[in-house]
Symmetry: C2
Subunit: 111 residues, 2 copies
């Protein structure tokens, strides 16, 4: 696999997770935020399908494995302090388990 930035490798070695943002490559809508450990990042790179670490199930989570709503990954970029990663994806179907295209559909109003 690609060589990880040292700061990212250190976070993984310390058992930390990285926040992973999936953005629709076409519309540029932010679709969801999930988490990655080293194994899920490696699998994402190998398969080119977004694979996360489910904090609630404590297991690997190939996005779309049960729903068919896969995310084909076009590019991955770490941020400057290496605690998050941005994935540009081609999203099949809805990203959200509610059926909404994006998980960010609960707007709060600015007073």
């Amino acid at each position: 696999m690609s060589k990880l930035p040292a700061a990212v490798a250190e976070r993984f070695a310390a058992g930390e997770l990285i926040a992973a943002i999936a953005q629709d490559a076409e519309s540029k809508d932010v679709l969801m935020l999930a988490w990655m450990n080293e194994e899920s990042l490696n699998l994402t790179l190998e398969t080119k399908r977004a694979t996360y670490w489910s904090r609630s199930r404590n297991s690997l989570w190939v996005k779309g494995e049960t729903s068919g709503h896969f995310q084909d990954v076009l590019s991955l970029s770490f941020d400057c302090d290496s605690d998050s990663i941005l994935l540009l994806v081609n999203q099949t179907g809805a990203a959200c388990h509610t059926g909404e295209r994006s998980c960010f559909h609960s707007e709060i109003l600015i007073p």
Copy 2:
């Protein structure tokens, strides 16, 4: 302030932070990911300027306070499991402390 979703209020009450994604309202580029506690979210809503919780400094962080690179917030949306929030912002200057427009500028290549 606006009423928070119950799941968000619960997270804050448990001392958890929410991952906050800032997206450029115009270009739709994802600019950065930072963290919010309840106080920083309340300040963001009151001032309409993105205010985060700095995990490294353990203190409130008004984005742009020292750099002048403020983020004027146009909308805020929680995700479906209430552990992250998406901010659409008008970004003054660069979002990243390196001078890059976005913090996500370290692309890793898919093999």
